[in-house]
Subunit: 566 residues, 2 copies
């Protein structure tokens, strides 16, 4: 369209004012979730007229962020609401097409920021599938009944087992490079060579053909696990599902708990939940995220926790925090800094941590621990400056102390404030800081922090349960700066102003490097190597320029490339 600029922002469909990550199966437009004993079937059947934004149709089971929000919701419910489900069969509701991948019209018209955040969320969702398989014993079988192209095949790659229909037509493909001049950026390249261990030269061939690979060669090259003729496909699925269910160590025999709707109020400059609130200072480009400790002691036992269900504090607080982070990422693009604060009783947080630790064999406790891990990982890869302020009245203890360790910097007040009769703030560690919440590169935040001298972790472990005031916390390397009342306001103000004045791109790149010292895993490689390259390519005229491949796709005109190699 004349005058249309690459990366122009689209308008949300249906008059929506923001991207909403809350949904439930009764509102799904694109997925069907059916549970039959130990086996759930998740059917992708995208409503082409229900795109998240105006201006495109979701043909051929292609997807946008809205489709993925429903998938993430379904996966979450499978973990919490269906503890009896051991196998999830992922399949298509369309004939002869599994999924055409991310919608190209959507991508061509999306801002750079939306593309990057869209890919980040879809990556997190697929990592979540693998997390469910590894840590909840919920195995995924993907049935590819037709074309699985680009993001379609990437979805299959996130599952444990891929069955491809052997009908001379169904195929898997990563045609992004030849067709669109971008990467399969939702983990595709990494999972092909790192997870499925496809030989790199085979992968090179596979990723540069438009038509994909089908039949026996797909198995020989490790792109899928098995093929089955259509006449035997359904029987094969049943057979595999039984087999995987039998091998699963998922132990939730009982009923699940209902993930009831979050109570949430969103207005111009705030988002409020029960335990979490977000306050936005637009002029300063700062969002403050406050978390309240539980207001009562943990339940006496498992039955008490089950009775509380979604209002059990660790679960409710995690859900609220998760939603808040996602809301800020997608809807508040001008915010430079996330400031974490907390209010309440650290001792209460530790009491809940003790509950989570002593009952960790229970399926629901296991789910909640892994959910906190995933929420914290989401924070780690959020491309905003993260700072945590430890002030009087705060409760950064155990699980919540991870927000201190996840921050790019933390500040802690020495002593009290004039006219404030609350005691000096303290920081407390629990067992939860020493294992259950690894970052995506495999280390806990304390391990990552103490790489220079791992014995610092042992020193910190000896302090579990103790209230550490500012200077002690600084001495133990747990906070960046301990400041007294005289310096506090000026230091924090100058820091926030400075941070808000820097180039957001420079900060994004810097933080993405400094946060992940040490090893890399397949998951962290996806966010580092793959995503960083994809972000670069999403910015290049060869992809997004007027004559670039994303813009020209489907117009009948071939893209024009600047052929300079860099």
């Amino acid at each position: 369209m004349a005058g249309e600029r690459p990366g122009e922002a689209r308008v949300l469909a249906g008059g929506a004012k923001y991207v909403d990550f809350q949904t439930d199966p009764s509102r799904y437009r694109h997925w069907k979730l059916a549970v039959d004993g130990e086996v759930a079937t998740l059917t992708m059947d995208v409503d082409e007229n229900a795109g998240l934004f105006e201006g495109y149709q979701l043909k051929l089971n292609s997807y946008d962020l809205g489709v993925d929000i429903e998938l993430a919701d379904a996966l979450q419910r499978l973990r919490f609401e269906h503890p009896g489900v051991k196998v999830v069969v992922l399949r298509s509701g369309k004939n002869r097409v599994f999924c055409a991948g991310a919608n190209i019209r959507m991508l061509a018209g999306a801002t750079h920021a939306h593309k990057v955040n869209f890919c980040k969320f879809t990556n997190e969702t697929r990592n979540g599938m693998e997390d469910s398989s590894e840590n909840s014993g919920q195995r995924f079988i993907t049935v590819v009944n037709g074309t699985a192209a680009g993001g379609g095949y990437e979805l299959a790659l996130a599952s444990d087992h891929i069955i491809l229909a052997d009908d001379g037509s169904a195929s898997v493909a990563l045609p992004e490079v030849p067709l669109l001049a971008v990467l399969p950026g939702t983990g595709g390249l990494t999972r092909v060579v790192d997870k499925r261990k496809v030989r790199r030269d085979h992968a090179d061939f596979f990723c540069t053909i438009e038509e994909g690979i089908k039949g026996k060669r797909a198995v020989q090259w490790r792109l899928v696990d098995e093929i089955a003729p259509n006449s035997k496909l359904e029987a094969k699925i049943v057979e595999r599902a039984k087999e995987f269910a039998a091998a699963s160590r998922r132990n939730g025999d009982g009923k699940g708990i209902a993930l009831t709707p979050l109570k949430r109020t969103i207005d111009g400059n705030s988002v409020r939940y029960d335990f979490v609130s977000v306050d936005i200072d637009r002029a300063a480009r700062v969002a403050t995220i406050s978390i309240k400790s539980p207001d009562a002691s943990p339940p006496a036992d498992i039955d008490g926790m089950i009775a509380q269900g979604a209002s059990f504090w660790p679960l409710q607080a995690a859900r609220e925090l998760d939603d808040a982070i996602l809301h800020l990422r997608l809807n508040e693009l001008d915010i430079a800094v996330l400031v974490f604060k907390s209010q309440g009783e650290g001792a209460q947080v530790l009491a809940y941590d003790a509950f989570l630790e002593s009952n960790k064999a229970h399926w629901l406790v296991n789910e909640i621990r892994h959910y906190w891990k995933r929420v914290l990982k989401r924070i780690d890869v959020t491309s905003r400056t993260l700072v945590t302020l430890v002030e009087p009245g705060s409760c950064f203890a155990g699980t919540l102390a991870e927000l201190v360790l996840a921050a790019d910097r933390s500040y802690m007040l020495i002593g009290t404030r004039e006219g404030d009769n609350r005691p000096p703030p303290s920081l407390m560690l629990s067992a939860m800081n020493f294992g259950p919440y690894p970052m995506s590169h495999g280390l806990t935040r304390l391990q990552s922090r103490f790489q220079a001298d791992p014995s610092d972790e042992d020193r910190a472990r000896e302090k579990i349960g103790e209230a550490l005031e500012a200077q002690e916390a600084e001495e133990f390397g747990l906070v960046t700066f301990a400041l007294d009342d005289i310096d506090w306001d000026d230091e924090i103000r100058v820091f926030l102003e400075e941070r808000a004045s820097f180039s957001p791109d420079g900060l994004t790149g810097m933080e993405a490097n400094l946060r992940f010292a040490g090893p890399e895993t397949m998951e962290s490689k996806i966010f580092a190597r793959l995503t960083a390259w994809q972000n670069w390519i999403f910015q290049r005229p060869n992809a997004v320029g007027e004559e670039g491949a994303l813009r020209r796709y489907g117009t009948g005109e071939r893209p024009r490339f600047d052929m300079t190699r860099v």
Copy 2:
């Protein structure tokens, strides 16, 4: 300047027609190399009027690619010409300034491709310092006598030991983010947290201040190893140099060998050396690199090798190949594909491999092996499609077989060609394919290739020394495709045409992901996480736009940023 576009190509100074990587100490403009027994001093004293391109001055020991080419040459000569040198003291020839980093005017006026290739080369040079320390026992001590900012500090970071003058003024700094809106992209962020293990929150503070850190805090935060007042600085350097020399396991007592000038002819479409030649087909965007086997058997013993000096085939061929790759990277930006071919006797290559293996304890053999490793690593991170054609008359054996394994794809002819009475081509492995040439992520190319089933490596090991024809090589997973004479020409033509038609950016990103399956190391993280993010930032208007920080630096005008976070 009105009308000047961001990223406009600069003109090479002095009427040079191409960037030349060959130099020697008699021609250095920026460095002085002095050897005194076991200790060499490498003094950086940049001639501000001797920039590689026109249009900027290299003030305050700032550098451009030309300065780094001299550094790389000096490091190479220290390894080959000075086997007695166990310690290299790196220092500045200027008062009160160590090095101001990469020249900002140069960066602001350079094309995106030049910036990326410049950073790649400077990274390789610094990795080479660490390689020398680890594998040649040549330890580096950097003496920071004044400001070491950005690339200046990154140079220090590549050394083993940093001594900072404690004069109230000398400091180390990574001011790129606050000052220029780009990253310290020559390994700085990675080395700060991964090598020096600076705590990530301290690193965050350090990387967002312009003025850097000096004195005791620089030591406490692990940014430098020690400080010394100026009155004691020289004595301290001598003391540390003696200490490191005593601990070094460098065992080259004898004389070095002279790295005599390469014989090279460059014309419009070719580069010719004795054993390596490059032929450029501009219309096809293909450069063919051919390597000849040695024309005589290896010398009988070490003395014979020393007598041959730089004309010992493994050394000469490595130097020629290295120069050819660098020439293509910097001077031939429109070339999409590098085609590797070879001619000669595989048995001769294997004979030299056997010499390199049986004499590996000798310092010169050690250097040559590590040099081949580094040349092959340079190929791995070259952002052009790499393809190797194994045809009649070729000699892809042992060390040269690494060029088959390094390729994105390889093709091997089955049998012979009509009218060609040479025997069918064969591929041969040697011990050199099973350890001495790891990629930057720590795996050999065979290990990287056989991740799906490591026993494939054992199967291949059993074939050491055997001539494998095409179908057998394909069956053993050593080549991508075995083709007969009927298909060969069409298949290769279509592949090369296809590759030349794709977006270079998409291919760069794809290849950077597929080539490095498996683990990451600090070195590979620099090329992946750090470089990929830097490439992205180098493309963003906040850095390189008309109002971006790189363009506005030094103009007195503040940059204007698009504050959207992505």
